[in-house]
Symmetry: C2
Subunit: 464 residues, 2 copies
């Protein structure tokens, strides 16, 4: 956006948000819901009604003026954040962060909550999730990850330098397209393009767009971004086309969405089987970069664990610690226990405690993420929820299918995808996240599968 375009965009988006909000809580929806109330037809329709009613009730609690003000503020705040990050200038962003925290508290009060005000914000991204429940899930994970990180530091060093050689971009793109097609991404119903920050946008199950960026000097950045976004894309392509526009054809939650991206990125994409299948083709594609690299050394390289400042560059072990830091700060901000102006100090203190290193500036610290500037407080924990769900779903799938490392080593990704299609994608919002996980895996969400996965997998990588 050109510099002076922000003002107009903020007004346009605020008007659109207001129009959408008014429609969401319109008398027409209310009348239709009342008319449908006695309906006890098939479970599909009942679930649709339940979710539409929930959306309506949530929407009606929020005044349209708050929606408009929030949209206008966040549009302008995003630009302030981008400038602040570029100059590592927290005071430039502070007035916006203050406004945003104030608006988010007004959302929490409007939406209502039983326990912590943060519950109301969380619930927008992960229906029914509560602060207490997440703290119970994340507590053991935090402890295990910190201990594991400490243990790995004493293990056999991983040399990942082979990933930072010369990987010409057109070949990277061809290889990544081939891989995601092999795991099931349908290019008749999707595409991949280049952008600044990778994302996946689902216009409908027949039109799913992935974007990525490519770094000629770093193989992992582009490849694992594509694999991650393709995981989101497989979910979007797997949603029921016959229920398009209805809850039964919508994604369950951000956490469940993230479970699908993390599943293919980490649990599949960093496995020995996956690379037994694809490393020969990779080596053929990049004979110069990989001429002297063997399968084992390469697989070890993509599993390097190293504490760094930037969340989006983090490995599978440290990633959750980045999230837990934000989750804790957000709770304190929303409750009023932490003033926005004290964020940089609190960030750096907690970061040092978790990682043993201190961010050199706020650009590499509390200014690194776009989320707060967009009013997305309560969003971060869904990333770690995704990791938790992914490990649990993967374990359950393996119980049904057999040794997935073997299956994937043979290049057969159809069984895992079919399992996810049935247990996750085609469920849509007919089950809430917790119920979906329980129905798919036989147990409520638990951090144990992820903890086991991290300890076993990375323990092996770092074993002398």
């Amino acid at each position: 956006m050109p510099k002076r375009g922000a003002e107009l965009r903020s007004k346009q988006l605020a008007m659109l948000a207001g129009m959408v909000h008014r429609r969401r809580c319109s008398d027409e929806v209310k009348a239709l819901l009342e008319e449908a109330a006695p309906f006890t037809g098939d479970p599909d329709a009942a679930a649709n009604l339940r979710e539409v009613r929930r959306d309506f009730e949530q929407a009606t609690r929020v005044p349209v003026a708050l929606v408009e003000e929030n949209t206008r503020t966040c549009t302008l705040a995003r630009r302030a954040w981008a400038d602040a990050r570029a100059r590592s200038d927290f005071p430039h962003f502070l007035p916006w962060l203050e406004k945003i925290c104030g608006l988010q508290r007004r959302f929490a009060e409007a939406l209502g909550y039983k326990g912590h005000p943060y519950d109301a914000l969380l619930d927008r991204f992960e229906p029914d999730a509560t602060t207490a429940e997440l703290n119970a899930l994340f507590g053991p994970l935090r402890q295990a990850a910190v201990a594991l990180l400490d243990r790995l530091r004493g293990g056999r060093a991983v040399d990942a330098s082979c990933l930072r050689r010369d990987y010409p971009v057109p070949q990277q793109e061809r290889f990544a397209r081939r891989v995601i097609e092999a795991i099931g991404f349908d290019f008749e119903r999707g595409r991949i393009d280049v952008t600044l920050h990778p994302f996946c946008s689902g216009i409908g199950p027949d039109d799913v767009r992935l974007t990525t960026r490519w770094d000629r000097r770093f193989f992992s950045d582009g490849f694992y971004s594509v694999l991650h976004e393709a995981g989101h894309g497989l979910y979007s392509q797997g949603l029921r086309a016959d229920a398009f526009g209805l809850p039964a054809g919508q994604a369950c939650s951000l956490g469940v969405h993230e479970s699908q991206s993390r599943l293919w990125e980490n649990l599949v994409g960093r496995s020995a089987g996956f690379w037994r299948r694809f490393f020969p083709a990779l080596k053929e594609t990049f004979p110069t970069a990989l001429g002297d690299v063997g399968l084992d050394a390469f697989t070890r390289a993509v599993n390097e664990v190293e504490a760094g400042f930037i969340r989006i560059d983090a490995d599978e072990v440290t990633y959750n610690l980045h999230i837990l830091l934000r989750f804790e700060l957000e709770q304190a901000l929303v409750k009023g226990d932490l003033a926005p102006g004290d964020v940089p100090g609190a960030w750096n203190e907690r970061f040092t405690a978790l990682f043993g290193i201190t961010p050199p500036d706020d650009a590499k610290g509390c200014l690194q993420d776009i989320h707060w500037s967009g009013g997305s407080i309560g969003y971060f924990p869904t990333y770690t929820l995704g990791n938790v769900y992914a490990a649990q779903l993967f374990d359950a799938a393996a119980r049904d299918i057999g040794d997935l490392d073997d299956v994937h080593g043979r290049g057969d990704f159809a069984p895992l995808l079919a399992w996810m299609r049935e247990k996750v994608h085609r469920v849509g919002r007919r089950l809430r996240p917790r119920a979906l996980v329980e129905a798919a895996t036989g147990a409520p969400p638990s951090p144990e599968p992820l903890i086991r996965r991290l300890e076993t997998h990375y323990g092996a990588v770092y074993t002398v």
Copy 2:
């Protein structure tokens, strides 16, 4: 768009078009217009009312079902056209063209017309324009252009090979940015990006986006596309921000918009003065490509006239002939004098008569343009109207400012832009196109300035 995404998009766009149309002819607008009827306030408000009333009346004539069916059909037709063009397979597109002609005839009947049914279609793009009026404007132009083309063929040959050397893309981009900044494009309120087909999208006067494509082996393609789109962009940036969303802050018509792009692309961008100013910098930017090329030879090269099959590659002289061909066929199609199935034959016959060469296939003939597939019948003539207006406005500006070749040779583009700002951009839709041209130039639209321009300018280029 991925292949299977078209179906969903056609439904989504049809729904949106229906929603917009319903709003356009809503009782709310009607009541507001009635309430405002006795209003005789300032001329600004009166003009706004007049135009809003016109939009409302036009909209209410068209049934929403026709709008929806048209949008759905055109979305699918666009893909069929793209496939047909790629394979030069007219029969593949024919059923869609038939549907589109049928829909367009229904639009004409719904909108109403006094003379030719084509009037109703034209009027959507160029308010108040009639077929008879355009035929009167374009007749002399056609005759003059054919005669001129014939005359130039006997003139001194132009060697344009210097434009087809090696022009590295980053340098092309830097140079073009520098030029459009010099003519007045404001990068604080606009940007330029790369795409398949150049366009200019105006989100508002403070957010104007140009796109272009670059061809390393052909300087003119990218450069003149940028200059053309920057002309549109200058108009969009010059619209009144204080009247944003109202007719007084909107562009007058497609023809007037095109006059601004053509003005900077051709009347300024192919002039001797323009290149006296910019050729030294260009030569410095591309020392290898232009080391042995002088100013005169380069200026001659960018003014080469040569009959070709493709409209968007056409020079200033032959361009209008491409348009007249389409204009004539469209009239016949809408009146029912030409069956869609006979378009390829009619196209090639007329093309040969005008240009003396025959398209080798339909991809280089009647399938080359996207317009018909989008239901834009009546759009093409606005391109030539733009050329007509541009020459007339340029003449009038020169009368007020003085010798523009001199002024531009000194790098001073502010006077011409200021003139256009006052006489065109800031007028918005307060005047209809014909009245705008008359107010700005002192005469109704006439083909004479354009004919004189073509004969004088290209006569000189091709004089031995």
